[in-house]
């Protein structure tokens, strides 16, 4: 299926969850609670179609064709 991630087109396997996507993008294993398996902070948040997906819901949230995802993190500023 095709989705948009941070404004760019991506193709994912059908049934991929938010967890799958976060893990794929950050290159880190993510557990069912939305935390990085290496114990360090993952430090990202996900919005799906302009709604925040709480990390506790990442595993249970299946992505759908045409979804627009934003993954954000802390950068220098302020």
């Amino acid at each position: 299926m095709k989705i948009k991630l941070n404004g760019e087109d991506h193709t994912l396997s059908n049934g991929a969850s938010v967890t799958t996507l976060v893990s794929h993008i950050t290159g880190r294993d993510v557990d069912s609670k939305g935390q990085a398996a290496d114990g360090r902070k993952i430090g990202v948040a996900v919005a799906r179609n302009s709604e925040v997906v709480p990390r506790s819901q990442w595993a249970a949230t299946a992505l759908a064709e045409g979804d627009e995802l934003e993954i954000v993190t802390a950068v220098q500023g302020g």
Partner: protein
């Protein structure tokens, strides 16, 4: 003997029940490298530091969030770049999820030329964020009326600007800052416009509880040394405020007694 360092420990800044040994809050914008930024933050002694929220980029090397966590510095996400209450609320929600904190420095900017807060959107966003359980650190104009209104809406701290962001013009309206401080019952943080150490000392002398700055350190010729300068400036200003300055006088006042002078022919 009371040293500056023991003084700051005994005289910590308390925000939302959290105590900080340093009254210097740092921003992270403008630093050319993460390593350099880390060194400057350590030299400044800051225990609370702002970050912005932007799209995740896999090519980015190193994590700012992890750097702050590793240095034991608490993170204060901001809503920099937001022009509307709606965008600011969304950004705050994302920051809460990403960084696991309900603290947010609320910035709602009117235009890119001045980067001044848009008072109407700021009030609206403060109300909405407080409703959603956020601890709002409201970046505001140096307007005593607006500052009090934000406090009454439930802001955790009010952060009046000294001068527009990044200008280094110092504190343009010290009288207004003093007025904001005198009427506030939440912490007042002087935010933006600081150019050099004496500006931060002045903010503390005016009665501010803390000072927030970024550019003055990150774009200084020697950011580590400037970070250290600000550490001392904030302590000095706080001590001076507590010590009680002499009143200003129109005419000179001799500090040596006139009596007992020797007489010469």
């Amino acid at each position: 003997m009371t040293t500056a360092s023991t003084q700051t420990v005994a005289d910590g800044l308390v925000i939302d029940g959290v105590e900080f040994g340093s009254r210097l809050i740092m921003g992270t914008g403008g630093a050319p490298s993460l390593d350099g930024l880390g060194a400057a933050l350590l030299a400044s002694g800051t225990e609370l530091t702002t970050v912005a929220m932007r799209r995740y980029s896999p090519t980015e090397t190193g994590s700012l969030f992890q750097l702050l966590v590793d240095h034991g510095i608490r993170v204060l996400p901001n809503t920099a770049g937001c022009f509307t209450a709606k965008d600011a609320v969304m950004t705050a929600e994302l920051a809460r999820e990403a960084l696991e904190t309900d603290w947010v420095k609320l910035e709602v900017i009117a235009d890119e030329q001045t980067l001044l807060p848009d008072a109407v959107e700021l009030v609206d966003a403060t109300e909405k964020l407080v409703d959603r359980g956020f601890k709002v650190f409201a970046y505001t104009n140096d307007d005593p009326v607006l500052a009090l209104r934000l406090e009454n809406l439930g802001a955790t701290a009010v952060m009046p600007l000294g001068a527009p962001i990044g200008t280094g013009l110092g504190i343009l309206n010290p009288h207004n800052i003093e007025l904001i401080v005198s009427r506030a019952s939440v912490p007042v943080v002087l935010d933006a416009g600081i150019g050099t150490a004496s500006d931060a000392a002045l903010a503390m002398e005016l009665g501010c509880d803390a000072v927030l700055l970024a550019t003055a350190v990150t774009r200084a010729q020697n950011p580590v040394q400037m970070g250290e300068a600000f550490k001392h400036a904030v302590i000095a200003g706080r001590l001076a405020k507590q010590a009680g300055r002499i009143p200003r006088r129109e005419h000179a006042l001799a500090s040596s007694a006139m009596e007992g002078r020797a007489e010469f022919l």
